[in-house]
Amino acid sequence: MTIQAEETKTITLIEALGQALDDALSSDPDVFLLGEDIIDPAGGAFGLTRGLSTKYGRERVRETPISEQAIIGAGIGAAMLGAKPIAEIMIADFYAVCLDQVANHAAKLRYMSGGRTTVPLTIRGMLSGGLNFAAQHSQSVEAWLLHTPGLKVAMPSTPADAKGLLTTAIHDPDPVILLEPVALYTVTGPVPVGRHEVPVGQADVKRVGADVTVVTYGPCVPMALAAAEELAGEISVEVVDLRWLAPWDKETVLESVSKTGRAVVMHQAVECCGFGAEISSVISENLWSVLEGPVLRVAGANTPVPYATELEQAHMPGTNDLVKAIRSTGEWKSRG
């Protein structure tokens, strides 16, 4: 765990994100926010930025038209001249309307210019799912971004990580995308009161175990912990919360699987070409000789996300699916 023995306060994940923004605005004049509906009195679709435009003014907390390409572009350009802009893409599905600015520009400008230009931009916003928001407001699109070299991508599962990841993102010299699981916005946890960072690429072992490694991130972390708890006594489950998806902490994952010999990867995104496939491949490529069986994947079904609860539950991966997958690894005969 990276939370130091320092002063903490128990707050929600959404409060932790707001705090990171507040701290950044107050401590660094180069930081500013831009996005749709982020100013007071509403302060964003879920009130995450509430209070900030009042405190820092509408010059630094900038409401925009519904123009995601223009939002990201404005962030890119300002970042190239030394600002540390934090652009909001309200819901992750909307990366589809601005992927050109994100993937063809923010991600590539440093490289295309031979390193002469840089884009220290942060893009953040909700990752939805599980809220009956249907096919265009529930997608987990991290794989689109992870298949785009030049981007850094993070997803928190706890309030402390949320604050730490966002703070690190803001000050990172490269474009960082923070996907915030809205399903966890109201989860509470202890958060360091002072400045708190989660270094780029650093995973967190959220539960130590000996028999099976679950590699996951974001909204599936609580499910993984619940599954581990359910199986306690029967199977000892280690839960690795990646936190950073790009670059990701291969070392920690490989170390864990070296120990357990069994791995299950879980994410909310649909399975086909999801990040789980990458993780699974890397584990297999690196730990072939220690694996007791194939790396298993627990993920969203390969369908759009449906609306009605019964359907969405069927689509989404859940704790039960994970428990089943973990149990199934126990049936493998050891090779040795």
């Binding site: 309307v97 928001f133 079904a301 369908t303 449906p306 609306y307 009605a308 359907l311």
Partner: protein, 324 residues
């Protein structure tokens, strides 16, 4: 159709929208259902008037805030309510919800949750009509905020270049979520944006169903006659804010809201029809009670309908076969 019949028809449609919205909101407020809901309250007159100039063979596309457009186009009320409450009997078998209502049998072809997302598709519907020499017209409904997104621009330009039989109806309700319109654009009249495309643009009081009908009928006629698209800006107001029950509406000035409610198009049109001698109060009341029953039936139908089977989540991805 006589002007009287048409005007009463418009009122009936407005009232159907109104009553359905009241019912939906009471379902939510009472806690009977817990769903995301975008109320069209205040905007009833626009699609009611536009639809009066359409035939069942014409098409529409609309947005998450499109239940009024969908009802006005003649979608089955039972299915509409059932869809919003997530039942197997809904317009989309419970897969779409309010953001994706569709009833192609009456020309409700696509409802998008992406701001501006259905505008490009409206062009395609109109293109097919043009290429098959059908005289169907497509209406593309969207909000004021949507006119700031790229898809709006590309679509209006293409429609003009191809002289497509499409009418773009911007329901200018003065806000996009919590953002006042003039914070997000520098033009007084959204209709002026038509000039960028060499297309006529008209601003009309969307709370005046008669005026809206005239403007819409002329644009639809133009489109049907092969003379190309029109951009209509119908001004209106959103009484319930963005997402019903969630939006605190603190950002909407109280006086502005009060003025808008004072100009509520539903009672206003009712009074006007009575004042104009189109119908007596009791005739209107009997239309209303007929509609009230329809709405009550729709709600009853929806709540009595089965929820979807979880296995249905895996169908309709492709034309044939299920996926796992």
């Amino acid at each position: 159709m006589t002007s009287k019949a048409r005007r009463l028809g418009i009122y009936e449609t407005m009232y159907r929208i109104y009553a359905t919205d009241v019912a939906m909101r009471s379902l939510i407020t009472s806690g009977k259902v817990s769903v995301i809901y975008y109320s069209p309250r205040g905007q009833e007159g626009i699609p009611a008037a536009v639809s009066a100039a359409l035939t069942p063979d014409d098409y529409i596309t609309t947005t998450y805030r499109g239940i009024h457009d969908t009802i006005a186009k003649g979608a089955d009320l039972k299915e509409v309510v059932a869809e919003i409450v997530g039942r197997k009997t809904g317009t989309c078998k419970g897969k779409g919800g309010i953001m994706h209502l569709s009833d192609p049998r009456v020309g409700v072809m696509a409802t998008s949750g992406i701001v501006g997302g259905a505008i490009p598709i409206a062009n395609g519907l109109a293109l097919r009509s043009q290429m098959t020499d059908s005289d169907a017209v497509t209406i593309s409904y969207f909000g004021d905020g949507a006119t700031n997104i790229g898809a709006f621009h590309e679509s209006l330009n293409l429609a003009a270049v191809w002289r497509l039989p499409v009418v773009f109806v911007c329901q200018n309700n003065q806000y996009g979520e919590f953002t006042p319109r003039m914070d997000s654009m520098n033009v007084q009249h959204i209709a002026d944006r038509a000039a960028s495309y060499g297309m006529p643009g008209v601003t009309v009081d969307g709370n005046d169903p008669d005026a809206t009908y005239e403007v819409a009928a002329a644009a639809i006629e133009r489109a049907r006659a092969g003379q190309g698209p029109t951009l209509i800006e119908a001004t209106t107001y959103r009484f319930m804010g963005h997402v019903f029950g969630v939006d605190q509406m603190e950002y909407m000035p109280k006086e502005e809201m009060a003025a808008a409610i004072a100009a509520d198009p539903v009672p206003a049109y009712r009074s006007r029809l009575i004042g104009d001698g189109e119908a007596r109060e009791d005739e209107i009341a009997s239309i209303e009670s007929k509609v009230d029953r329809e709405v009550a039936d729709a709600v009853e139908f929806a709540l009595a309908s089965p929820v979807p089977d979880s296995l249905d989540a895996f169908t309709d991805v492709y034309a044939k076969g299920a996926v796992a």
